[in-house]
Amino acid sequence: MIVIPCPWCGPRDESEFTYGGDASRPMPSLKNGNDQAAWHGFVHQRENPKGPHVEYWYHGGGCERWLRVERDTITHQVRWASDAAAKTEPEQ
């Protein structure tokens, strides 16, 4: 069982959350028009790392906030979790 340290609710089991996928790719700017390569990179291409992975989790069973979480994809250990609306990553 993965335990996610929710910044609002404290440590909670994965069963309270819904996974939202890779959070490492910034969405291309809508101002640049139709940049096919950039959108392909954002929608499809993934680093898929074996190790630390920054990803979204939705805390539906708690604060109902989207979180950004860094989790190791081999050990499932979570290093940090922050509110997805926060601009900066927490101090480690």
Partner: protein, 422 residues
């Protein structure tokens, strides 16, 4: 290798028993790698070994090494729930899997290896009228393509699978089923062994315990595959690794549109024959069949998040077991005996990626998720054809990596670019 390799047969079995059960020759030769090969196939699972076998049998290419980081068939080949079927709706998916199903039907004889191909029937359950209508559409598509499909209403389904709980007050009541009678199971590790034996007999080198650590490139070509057993030069490289495709692609200098996610399966203690079909529950996902040893083999959906840990989590076991018990209440009395996980690399549309890559002499066979086993013979056959002719075989052409840029996705599940949902 000078070992005399007799054909496997009942006669040979009796003769050997008579002669004091002397040991059998190795099924495939143990050889150190040469300094270079025409084709180096990375990944000694059933897909890689089948590719080698068909390259040798059909295309006259025998200077091949299949290199495997662990032991043959120890990856997803030996971890799946052994199901074969071709009940797909989308044209590209259905054609490839139907070709595979036809090949499974004669494969034991061809490879002289009992693969225990059991066409016991694959029963796909619907839980609503809407789902039944979608099933009818899919069954019609299958029949129009020359495959077999039957739609069973609840009464007919109860006759076909008498053990099934069709209580209308169940949490997810069953409405009917799509049945493919030619579907069933195949002993999965025997597939790796049979292809290895047949490929080895044609001169293919099979090198186990040989992880790849990098590539040496000149321009946009791979010159040398660096392994823990030394460098191996290659005219052509096939990456057929399942799970770790992104890692190999990274070594070769490109990203892939896929994510690695664990999928687990488990078996119950063995019991007397109780279930003679494969049944799939679609409210959530749970598929179950009974092995010849008597264990119920059960599997479910993905773990739901990126993972390279080949083990499963308890919440998923609980979910899957609950669905199995809803289908077959007698299963509640069984104890789970073993549980394991495999790493499935799932592409952004949930379908495989086969064919050319951004590296000129690297061919991909990746992204099979947890749906690759059933396709094994057709994939090996079509990939071998593609490698020899230098152009993708029509069966695998739709699965090109370029589809993610062109937009011609093959999304059987309709789940969009979220591998963890496929």
């Amino acid at each position: 290798m000078t070992d005399f390799k007799p054909k496997y047969s009942a006669w040979e079995l009796v003769k050997r028993a008579w002669q004091g059960d002397r040991p059998w020759a190795r099924a495939w030769a143990q050889v150190p790698p040469k300094s270079g090969y025409q084709v180096v196939i990375i990944g000694g699972g059933a897909h890689g070994l089948a590719t080698a076998y068909y390259l040798a049998r059909d295309q006259g290419i025998r200077d091949i090494a299949v290199i495997e980081k662990g032991w043959l068939g120890g990856g997803n080949t030996g971890r799946n729930t052994t199901i074969i079927r071709s009940d797909y709706f989308l044209e590209a998916s259905a054609r490839l899997k139907e070709k595979a199903l036809q090949m499974w039907e004669g494969l034991s004889r061809e490879l002289n290896f009992n693969l225990m191909v059991s066409q016991r029937g694959y029963v796909d359950l619907a839980h609503s009228d809407g789902e039944m209508e979608a099933f009818v559409l899919r069954a019609n598509a299958m029949r129009l393509r020359g495959s077999d499909a039957q739609i069973l209403d609840l009464e007919a389904l109860q006759r076909r699978v008498p053990q099934l709980n069709i209580d209308p007050m169940a949490r997810f009541p069953i409405a009917g089923a799509l049945v493919q009678e030619r579907g069933g199971t195949v002993r999965h590790d025997a597939v790796a062994w049979a292809y290895a034996r047949a490929a080895s007999a044609q001169g293919v080198h099979i090198i186990e315990h040989c992880p790849v650590t990098g590539f040496e490139k000149t321009g946009d070509r791979i010159q040398t595959v660096i392994t823990e057993k030394g460098p191996i030069d290659a005219d052509h490289v096939v990456v057929s690794v399942a799970g770790h495709s992104s890692e190999l692609a990274r070594m070769a200098g490109f990203d892939l549109p896929l994510e690695s996610i664990a999928v687990q399966a488990f078996v119950s203690e063995p019991v007397k024959p109780a279930l003679d079909v494969v049944v799939n529950f679609n409210a959530g996902l749970a598929y179950v069949s009974q092995t010849d040893k008597g264990e119920l083999v059960m599997g479910g959906g993905t773990e739901g998040y990126n993972s390279y840990a080949s083990r499963g989590s308890l919440p998923r076991i609980e979910e899957t077991a609950a669905r199995v018990i809803e289908m077959f209440p007698f299963a509640a009395k069984l104890r789970l005996m073993r549980q394991w996980g495999g790493i499935a690399d799932i592409a952004m549309d949930g379908n495989a990626i086969m064919g050319p890559s951004p590296v000129a002499n690297l061919t991909l066979n990746a992204g099979w998720g947890y749906a690759g086993f059933k396709a094994t013979p057709a994939v090996g056959w079509a990939l071998a054809h593609s490698l020899a002719k230098g152009t993708p075989h029509p069966l695998i052409a739709p699965f090109a990596l370029a589809r993610f840029q062109s937009g011609a996705l093959i999304d059987d599940g309709g789940a969009g670019p979220s591998p963890y949902l496929h």
